[in-house]
Structures are given as C-alpha cells and as structure tokens.
C-alpha cells in the first residue's frame, strides 16, 4: 500500500468507526500514547481495546463525528499528521475517571495525532488534546478574551 492509500485507509477507518480496518494498519508491537493522561496502549490487543472503548464512550449526531481538516505526511512518508475536531455526546460507557463528564454532555474537542510509520504500518501514535476541554465541556478557559 502506498502512502496515499495508507492515509486514505486510515481516514476512512477513523471517520467511519472502522476499528478492524484501522487495526490492519498497525505493526504488531505498535503503541498509541494519550499524552494528556499519560496512558500507553502497546500491542494490537491494547490498541483495539482503546479504539473499542473510545467508540463506545460517545455517540455522534448529525454533523458530528471525527472531522479531519489537516491531514498530511512528510516527504518520506514516515510521519503522518492527522488533525481533527471530535464532536460528540458522552455516553454511560465513558471510561471511569475522577473527572468523568456527565452522560449527555456535548463536546467539541480539537485533537492532533502525530503518527510514526515504518514499513507501511503504524509503529506509534501520539495523541494530543486538552483534557480540561473534555472534562469541563461547556466551560471555556480563556486567557486572552
């Protein structure tokens, strides 16, 4: 699979909740790091668990979902940037946490994925977002305005 097809396959999987399609793009010893929480999901089983958990944790109404807007790779095709806004509604299957948002909370969360690719497979994804935007959705935190 060339880089263009790889990126398209990932984008299709991410925007259509295609967990198994996304899993086909991973190296067996790949890692997905959630930078805001410090969690690391290493290996296919753990990455599948993360993806499945994430899909269950929210629903998408009309116009919601994973909405990518800057998607590109470096020239070598070894690094993919996948920048998007995730709009959705929290479900009761949101992972337990001390700052769990209430079921039914609407959120709009900007996220960027920095992805390392080797031999046509993901070996690492680092996911960056602001946890406070999620846990205190509807309470914007303003420094400048």
């Amino acid at each position: 699979m060339n880089t263009t097809d790889f990126v398209k396959a990932f984008t299709d999987a991410m925007t259509h909740e295609g967990v198994e399609e996304m899993m086909k793009l991973w190296s067996p010893d790949g890692e997905w790091l959630i930078m805001a929480t410090g969690e690391t999901f290493k290996g296919l089983d753990k990455i599948r668990e993360l993806a499945t958990r994430s899909v269950a944790a929210r629903t998408h109404g009309s116009g919601e979902g994973l909405l990518p807007f800057n998607v590109f790779t470096n020239v070598e095709g070894t690094h993919l940037i996948w920048e998007y806004v995730h709009k959705g509604v929290v479900t009761e299957q949101w992972p337990a946490s001390t700052r769990k948002p209430a079921v039914g909370t609407e959120f709009s969360l900007p996220i960027i994925l920095s992805c390392d690719i080797q031999n046509g497979k993901f070996i690492k994804i680092r996911e960056y977002f602001d946890l406070l935007t999620l846990t205190e959705a509807g309470t914007p935190h303003h420094l400048y305005s």
């Binding site: 960056y128 946890l131 400048y144 305005s145």
Partner: protein, 150 residues
C-alpha cells in the same frame, strides 16, 4: 525563509526569551487558537501574554522533539519546561508564585504565509496537566475571571 526555518526561528526565540524575536515571526493578521486562548487570539494579545509569562516563568524552555513539514504547513511536537517563580499578574489580581516546575509535552500546528511569517497557529496542550503541576486553579482561566483583555 522556508516554513521550516520560520518555525525553527520562532522556537529559538522562545527559548532565548526574545519577545521581539517571537513577534517578528508572526504576520500582522496572525491568529492563535489554544485551550487557554478562548477562541482566536491576535498578535497583540499574544504580545501581552508573552510579557505576563516572562515574569512568571523566567526559565521557560521549549525543546522541539519533532517537526513535520508539508508545503506551508508545519507541525511540531515540543516539550515545554518552566518553574512558576514570579508573580502572575492578572489586570486586577496577582497570583503568588508556587515555585513548582512543570514539564509539558504539546503539539503545535503552524501555517506560514508567502512572506515567511506565521499566519495561523493552533496549540494542543493539556491545561489540566499544566495547572496540576504548577498548582494553579483552573477557575482562573474561566470567562468570569480577570483575563487579559485585548
């Protein structure tokens, strides 16, 4: 100047604490989105923020971990470190330093214009981790607080 050179100079100026150098890399119509910016922040607002944080976090450093460039788009992964040692002076309220340090990995998207200036930036950094490490109350950044006005 290429987009990569522009963004590299931007981070170098940050670590030198060269506020004029930072601002010189920003286009007049520059806009910033970040978890703390509450929508779009202008170049003028950022100038105010730089002064504020220079006093509060005088040892701030930016370490660029990775940089991906495609055309006029640049994405960097950065680790910011600093210690809250100076008063954080809001217009009507000063927050005493906690002397706590933080180390925060974040990502930043940049779009560079044809003049080699940054016209758009979006930061992806975790406010929750930052306030936890430096010991600042998140409520300080809510709209009801005394925020920096343009």
């Amino acid at each position: 100047m290429t987009p990569k050179e522009t963004v590299t100079k931007y981070w170098e100026a940050y670590t030198r604490h060269d506020q004029e150098g930072i601002l010189s890399m920003l286009a007049p119509d520059y806009n910033l989105r970040s978890p703390l910016s509450g929508g779009v922040a202008t170049k003028h607002m950022v100038a105010g923020g730089l002064k504020l944080f220079e006093q509060s976090f005088p040892n701030l450093k930016e370490e660029v971990i990775s940089m991906v460039v495609e055309g006029n788009r640049v994405v960097c992964e950065v680790v910011e470190t600093a210690t809250f040692t100076g008063s954080l002076d809001w217009p009507t309220e000063a927050i005493a330093p906690t002397n706590k340090s933080y180390s925060l990995p974040f990502a930043a998207f940049f779009r560079v214009d044809s003049q080699g200036l940054i016209v758009e930036q979006q930061n992806y950094w975790d406010t929750a981790a930052w306030i936890r490490q430096v010991g600042i109350d998140a409520k300080l950044f809510t709209p009801d607080s005394k925020s920096l006005k343009s």
